[in-house]
């Protein structure tokens, strides 16, 4: 990825395929990871990532550069993910009050599991968050976006994003500490 975003955008606007390839290499993994977390399905994640890149290329002339290209890509990806979840009726909405009674996917306490196992537990638990909280957590902790960038990505006020983040962390903590259902 060129250091100078403007130069890179110029290349994309001229239809330079090497610039498209560089963009996909730079952000493809992050986009698939984010979309996988949103949809819960690897194949859907790649399809939606392809669609996001295609839309960026198709509409690059409309991109004014107010936000970074990365933020622009995540914004498109986020919208695609929401549309996908809506059309498939796959929203994982969980009322916070229900969380303490909801069994976590794995029974072992955090301290007793390996790092990889703990990471897998967290990812599995993320699925149970409301979609907006899930998106904020992934963009913040996985992709290292600032709250301002997340706000641009999700078309929300920065304060709203921070509130989603707080409630997401609290919900995750409750879910992770919930006693295992022996069923």
């Amino acid at each position: 990825m060129p250091e100078d975003q403007a130069a890179w955008l110029d290349q994309l606007r001229t239809g330079d395929e090497s610039a498209v390839r560089d963009m996909v290499r730079a952000y493809g993994g992050a986009l698939i990871r984010f979309l996988g977390g949103m949809t819960g399905n690897a194949a859907d994640a790649e399809d939606l990532a392809q669609e996001a890149f295609l839309r960026v290329v198709s509409h690059i002339s409309e991109f004014r550069g107010e936000a970074s290209l990365k933020t622009y890509l995540f914004k498109i990806a986020h919208n695609l993910a929401l549309n996908h979840l809506s059309s498939a009726r796959q929203r994982y909405e969980v009322l916070p009050d229900e969380l303490p009674d909801r069994p976590s996917p794995e029974p072992a306490p955090l301290q007793a599991v390996s790092d990889e196992e703990e990471a897998r537990r967290l990812r599995d638990t993320l699925v149970h968050l409301p979609s907006q909280q899930r998106a904020v957590v992934m963009l913040r902790t996985w992709e290292d976006l600032s709250f301002k960038e997340i706000a641009q990505t999700m078309s929300l006020a920065e304060g709203t994003v921070k509130a989603h983040y707080f409630f997401a962390l609290r919900n995750l903590r409750r879910m992770m500490e919930a006693p295992h259902d022996p069923r």
Partner: protein, 156 residues
């Protein structure tokens, strides 16, 4: 400031507002919860999954980009080629005018008819244009067409 407001400031990063700091100093429950939330945050940062097979993504995206391009940009060369072939075929069908192997000077150069290049290297131009377009569409010019155009060039 409420407990949740203080905690929200606490996990948002950056300098804490004085009021939030005062609340956290005075409320051990909030201080403990903030530490637990920050621990979850640290664990989340280490939980990002590795994405596999991303190497194939650039090629797949580029294929879709090429398919999505408006076809209009490619049509002039295709239309020019089709028109040239049509005119050439029409000329060949004219009875008794000229031997089939000798195209008329005004039609030997398709560029003269089509006014697309004005050069004398029309066959090469047309074949080159066709090949450029075909490459963008992922196809190659048929050998029969290459042969036809070469024969035309030789005859001109």
């Amino acid at each position: 400031m409420t407990h949740d407001e203080a905690l929200r400031h606490g996990v948002a990063g950056g300098p804490l507002p004085q009021e939030a700091q005062a609340h956290l100093n005075a409320c051990p429950d909030c201080a403990a919860e903030l530490e637990a939330l920050r621990a979850i945050e640290r664990r989340l940062s280490r939980s990002a999954p590795r994405v596999q097979e991303v190497d194939l993504l650039p090629g797949r995206v580029l294929a879709r980009v090429r398919r999505s391009r408006p076809r209009g940009w490619a049509m002039p060369s295709a239309a020019a080629l089709a028109l040239a072939v049509g005119l050439w075929a029409a000329w060949l069908s004219r009875p008794g005018e000229r031997p089939a192997s000798t195209p008329p000077a005004e039609l030997a150069s398709a560029s003269a008819v089509l006014d697309i290049s004005g050069g004398t290297d029309t066959t090469a131009d047309l074949l080159g244009a066709y090949e450029t377009e075909a490459a963008s569409l992922g196809t190659a010019p048929p050998e029969a067409l290459k042969g036809f155009l070469s024969a035309t060039e030789d005859g001109g």
